[in-house]
Amino acid sequence: MREPTFLILTALADRPRHGYGIVREVGVLSDGRVSLLTGTLYTALDRLAAEGLVELDHEEEVDGRLRRYYRLTGEGLAALTAETARLRQLTTAAEERLRSVRPRTA
């Protein structure tokens, strides 16, 4: 799973969000490192929806602007859980190696 996909799924993990809400949350989650553009986000959402990982939750209009909220499906939650476990295993392995190389700083 690529990083933007992982971040989008993570952004939707706690509650449904609309497009700009996802962009903002991805920025927060990545400490401002990843800034999703709207076109990129919607292509990713289309793909994730086609793969059955996200679905439409509800829509509302705010200040004349249409907002559609997306949420994780059961499959999406499972995919995010599996990817998180994979990344945790990699991170743990990397930390162990770093500790053996730099015991004081790692």
């Binding site: 497009g19 700009y20 709207t38 292509t43 289309d46 929806a49 086609a50 679905e55 602007r65 249409l66």
Partner: protein, 365 residues
């Protein structure tokens, strides 16, 4: 939602297909405006490039596909190349008619005085197949692998009887006279009249033929000078042809770009139509394979050969573009590809059982 920024975003959203804009346009626009800082009047270049790129991706449909972009690029490139070749053929129509027989005779008299040439006749067209302009009568030859006979016509002839001068003297004289009469003379190509690898044959003793090529304005000149050997009396032949007209290049460029854009849009339409529960969703994939095979393989086969040919011999004017693509030698294969493409498009046009618009995200149940 109005204002200059909204208008500009809406303009950029035209990169997305119409059905997608209907289903998601307002939502995308809302997200874009939400993300825009106050006071912004126009999208940033990065935003614009992102919307165009992803709008074009949306035109291909099949959002979960990892390969549809590659297929679209293959279709657009090969279609653009063929469209460019057709356009260059149209560009060739701007060429001046070939020199008349009398003019060719006069030019030959300047180049090689005192040498008589036979069979000099007016050319019936700029391009001919077996000496005749292209017509329905030539369809069989054109389609069944004799298409290589469709080539640029020339006006020229061969020496009557044994050439008046020895080959070496002829080559020197022709080169000198051509330069004196304003021709640009290209390096002469020499070739052995027969091949041998060693004793009892002495490679140094093999007679050598020469090809002289030159250009003046929009006219090219080619002369073959072959020595007499083993009972062969020798040969001297010359021909004038037209160089590629300047208009061919813009015609090719514009035709190629138009062809690629149209092919991309048509491919995207068919791809979107045939995703999901469309009755032809299975049939269109092998048809696409047939199209790509019959359009790409002859092209990839011929292109390096044509490039090598141009590197090996000086060319005052390059061969027409379609010859680089193996056309019309492989025109039958090209037509099979066209047939498969039309059949695929006809199948894609079949009505869909559902009316779900493109870009609709499933709603939570």
């Amino acid at each position: 939602m109005t204002g200059p920024l909204t208008r500009r975003y809406r303009r950029l959203l035209l990169a997305y297909p119409r059905a997608y804009r209907r289903a998601r346009g307002d939502e995308l626009l809302g997200a874009l405006l939400d993300a825009a800082p106050p006071g912004r009047a126009r999208p940033t270049a990065r935003e614009a490039a992102d919307l165009i790129r992803h709008g074009l991706r949306a035109r291909l449909g099949r959002p979960a596909s990892r390969t549809v972009v590659a297929w679209a690029v293959l279709v657009a490139v090969v279609s653009g190349v063929f469209a460019a070749a057709f356009a260059t053929r149209a560009g060739w129509e701007t060429a001046r008619p070939l020199p008349r027989a009398a003019e060719a005779r006069a030019m030959l008299a300047e180049v090689l005085p005192g040498q008589e040439f036979d069979d000099i006749e007016d050319a019936p067209a700029l391009f001919v197949i077996y000496g005749q302009p292209l017509s329905w009568n030539a369809a069989h030859s054109l389609l069944f692998f004799d298409g290589g006979e469709y080539a640029q016509a020339g006006v020229g002839g061969s020496a009557v009887g044994v050439p008046a001068r020895p080959p070496g003297e002829t080559v020197e004289l022709v080169q000198r006279n051509l330069r004196e009469h304003g021709w640009t003379v290209y390096p002469t190509t020499l070739r052995d009249m027969y091949g041998c690898v060693g004793p009892p044959c002495d490679p140094a003793a093999i007679p050598t033929g020469a090809t002289i090529v030159a250009r003046r304005g929009d006219t090219t000149f080619t002369m073959e000078v072959n020595p007499a050997y083993a009972g062969n009396p020798g040969y001297l032949g010359a021909v004038f042809q037209r160089a590629t007209p300047v208009a061919v290049y813009p015609f090719g460029l514009v035709g190629g770009l138009l062809g690629a854009v149209v092919a991309f849009l048509v491919f995207g339409w068919a791809s979107r139509r045939t995703e999901g529960r469309h009755p032809a969703r299975v049939a269109v994939k092998p048809l696409l394979g047939v199209v790509l095979f019959f359009w790409w393989v002859p092209t990839l086969w011929t292109l390096p050969l044509a490039a090598q040919h141009h590197l090996d011999e000086p060319h005052p004017s390059w061969h027409p573009m379609w010859e680089w693509l193996g056309q019309p030698t492989f025109s039958l294969l090209f037509l099979v590809g066209c047939g498969a493409a039309l059949l695929g498009l006809a199948l894609a046009a079949l009505p869909r059982p559902d009316r779900e618009p493109v870009g609709t995200v499933p709603r939570a149940g």
